[in-house]
Symmetry: D2
Subunit: 331 residues, 4 copies
Amino acid sequence: MLKIAVIGAGRIGKIHAANIATHPQATLVAVADPFINSANALADLYGAEAVSDPLELINDADVDAVIIATPTDTHVDLMLAAARQGKKVLCEKPVDLDLKRAADACRQLEEINAPVMVAFNRRFDPSASELQQAIASGDIGDLHQVVITSRDPDFAPMDYLRHSGGIFSDMVIHDFDMARWLLGEEPVEVYASASRLLKPELAEFNDYDTVMVQMTTASGRQCHINCSRRAVYGYDQRLEAFGSAGMLLNNNQRANSVRRYTAAATEVQAPLEAFFLERYEQAYRLEMDAFIQAALGKCAIPVTPFDGLMALKLAECAARSAASGRPVSVD
Amino acid sequence: MLKIAVIGAGRIGKIHAANIATHPQATLVAVADPFINSANALADLYGAEAVSDPLELINDADVDAVIIATPTDTHVDLMLAAARQGKKVLCEKPVDLDLKRAADACRQLEEINAPVMVAFNRRFDPSASELQQAIASGDIGDLHQVVITSRDPDFAPMDYLRHSGGIFSDMVIHDFDMARWLLGEEPVEVYASASRLLKPELAEFNDYDTVMVQMTTASGRQCHINCSRRAVYGYDQRLEAFGSAGMLLNNNQRANSVRRYTAAATEVQAPLEAFFLERYEQAYRLEMDAFIQAALGKCAIPVTPFDGLMALKLAECAARSAASGRPVSVD
Amino acid sequence: MLKIAVIGAGRIGKIHAANIATHPQATLVAVADPFINSANALADLYGAEAVSDPLELINDADVDAVIIATPTDTHVDLMLAAARQGKKVLCEKPVDLDLKRAADACRQLEEINAPVMVAFNRRFDPSASELQQAIASGDIGDLHQVVITSRDPDFAPMDYLRHSGGIFSDMVIHDFDMARWLLGEEPVEVYASASRLLKPELAEFNDYDTVMVQMTTASGRQCHINCSRRAVYGYDQRLEAFGSAGMLLNNNQRANSVRRYTAAATEVQAPLEAFFLERYEQAYRLEMDAFIQAALGKCAIPVTPFDGLMALKLAECAARSAASGRPVSVD
Amino acid sequence: MLKIAVIGAGRIGKIHAANIATHPQATLVAVADPFINSANALADLYGAEAVSDPLELINDADVDAVIIATPTDTHVDLMLAAARQGKKVLCEKPVDLDLKRAADACRQLEEINAPVMVAFNRRFDPSASELQQAIASGDIGDLHQVVITSRDPDFAPMDYLRHSGGIFSDMVIHDFDMARWLLGEEPVEVYASASRLLKPELAEFNDYDTVMVQMTTASGRQCHINCSRRAVYGYDQRLEAFGSAGMLLNNNQRANSVRRYTAAATEVQAPLEAFFLERYEQAYRLEMDAFIQAALGKCAIPVTPFDGLMALKLAECAARSAASGRPVSVD
């Protein structure tokens, strides 16, 4: 049994804790959160210990693995501290909002060959992974184009947005990771258009709500991403891969399969699922399983800090492109 | 060029006339209708002759083929008269409302080996014919079950219904023909349930608005038909064939392919197509082509008076079953 | 916390045990199975006690509720024994294969007003329950027709089938319950056709593999059910409700949402989900929650022994109809 | 009756001729083609006159309207000649491959206020026009993003491609027109990526087979177009419009509605329709009707030479962007 501690008892920490609790090869041994009440509440659910200081758990010889689900600006320090104590680490994205700091961390983790996994949960969505495997195994021949639709049901609160690092690093970063993973090749050029069509007040901190990104790889593969902070019909997450021998589509999923037919309209379905916790519930579970298998030495780490760094770099290129109006080369 | 006369300038006569006019191997030479104004109006559109007496056309040596699109009770006499004059004949369904009279007519037509085709237009719908061919060529292995959904958008006027012969002979007859065609084997047992859930006043002439039929063949194949005189969401026409090696579904078709997504609902499409003239427009065109090819001796007659008779017989069995509450054997 | 014991450590017992284990208001305290190794294996997973004799648990004052997941012929005795001990009971379907015995049991349970729930899990499938609620709340006006498609991916082993009570009591019974629930009115007439198109050797014990059922209610509502023991494309479970103001469709669900487009075909999806454990996973979870809420007195029992009895009665009528070739009135 | 002459008896000329022939308010009076045999063959089908010199028809006082379906480099001269003779003109796209020449022609046509319509047939596709009208009438609130998928089933012959003006002017030009029409606002910035992933030999004449385009309007609306010269699964034509109050999708259409379910796969449909003649058959018919109504003075000309010019300008900007790797401002 892998003994796991969760650092950060917020929304994502709770999901990870629940998935650990029901995993047959792992136990949740402890929860850390500076708000000790939050730590206690989560720990109590699963009979785990609660502490306020994460370092207590990181230094605890009885903890095998650590989940970092804290605010972004603490990721690098906690990741490095845990890695240096020989813990297996699963760290939430992004590695850091500062590209240089993230790159430094990656380098240090590589030097000590640390078993750190970055939590790009969408890679574990069964439909996304089937699609990626189908591309990788040549089902559609040579890959030519990837089209990603990624629209949130609604804005996070302004206070969150103000410190989110901007739409590219906060939201589109998932799509940059998906793009890299599906393309099977690094983008070398990024062009982004960004507008404030929903909330002009985002101009205050230079953020956007509606963006399109176009990227190319060295071999000439093309990728398009479109995002919006608000799709009134729900959380819109689609993938398309087009190649010389065919196309793969991953359409949206549904909470139920009932369709209504009336005098006014037909094929009517309910709006799309609420948000990422519901849509990617299964992905979070499979992500935790992948982490546990890697931590138990049964497979390689499937998403590395380098993946985290590269998604961040693409986000940063996109932000620069949107600001300058010019395509940006990924060095 | 096949010289064709149309008898009956009503709704169906007009469709046939238009399809003849645009067919490269046929010419519309004349239209007959006791309402000479109707005959004139239709004939003028295509530069054809108009007469009031159908026998004039039937006896005209210059007419190669005759389309009978008149009221049902005239079908038998016109069909026989035309056949005896050596005309190729396309006659609208049903052959007659009286089963015995229809059987007599069929026998006489057989005796003179008359080239008569009965207008079960749905067999020529491209989706229906692809489905039938797929069954016949073994794509789903041995056929086990056929499910037919057949719901009209709304009632015909009460005056029409009063003389229609009842829902089984007037409406379900199309589905009985489809069932025979898809099953590839004659039904031997018919059980029907019939209700008046929409218009209790149909009781006046012993008719129904909502029916279900279950039939079996000698080898144990099963068929279900469900019908309603009013589907508020439009003309609902679906086919399903289930066999040992798979299933074929023919879903409803759409006038356009636009889907709407709003905060209230997703995948919203417009109601289904208006009615049979729109839904089976292509089928009418292909039916006329099949008739013309058969009349020109290029293929066998695809739907015979015997087919017309058998569909009528099943309708009559279903009516008796609904009245008696017992299954009825098809002798 | 509701203390629950599971009797029967087979396939269904395991599902119930797992759903109890993760439910926040219940604890799995014990497992009983005459094969003590099976009981041990299941009990160990959740830190519960294992016994071989179910009566030990039924008589244990520390057990609040009992799940009966044993062979059918033990249901009645265990249900009555547990009810007499004041336990809350969730019993797998069918109540019994013998209609009279089941009716006796129902009467006795009613006399002592026993809190017994029968496990028709499909009622808890989110799509089925949304569809039922939409009908009940008048979304499609007056209900006229219900169409149920219910095809298994493949046969159970012959040894199981031989003692299953026949396709109507073993398999279609779920659809009879669904029909009653959706119709909102008892069927008064049942007509069934049954064939052996896949396995002629079922004749040995007078069973069938391919059936169609047609039922009517007193007010004239109609219901069609079609079943097959083997759909090569997977577990085919569809519902359709048609009414004066519209239609509700519940199509099949998918394990993932990837569609393939190649030169040979488009919209290609994987075969349907494996079988009921996968398809109704969520339904089993919600069923257990419903039982626990009812056991805790928070709601009425949603599926009663009377429901179990009525589904059995319809199955028995259908079997008689198939044997006699005549419709059977439900007394 | 509008007397119409068709200039050019090739593939598109034939379609126009057929649609004129069946239109109740128009007659095909003549066909011109330097290959007099082609002209004769087409004219004979509809009882029209055949000539080799288009000017003969343009100068014929008995001709009301002229359809120009000739090679691109003759469009400008024929259009101007016909307009100066007071003819109503329907001219195939593009106006010309040379932007300056096209702009000159437009200016001259404006000066004489000539009734010239440019044949962007896709605007008349019923699904496209329903989608455009839904946007224009505010059904999805403020428009934010347009996504256009436009993939041909296969390459035209190399000889055609060599003189086509390149993928942007030859193929994507339809999508540029669609983008302008749906956006309801002119693009001000165009960025294009272009690759040779299928036919490296296109480098010979500096052409591409796989392109993506991203455009923005002054108000910040965004548009993405993706194109390929070869989609092995058929002619892939999809539209998506996303706005503050919802989304509209126009998926691909189908020649028939049969779906297959086997042990290998489910929902299997045939590949998409062959190519534009089949996919846009109805659009061509409605386009001709729109032209005839405009020629008869019953409505304004729905697609002007200015529209033709603007689509060409966007194509030219895209080609420059693909060549330079930089976004290009539309002056």
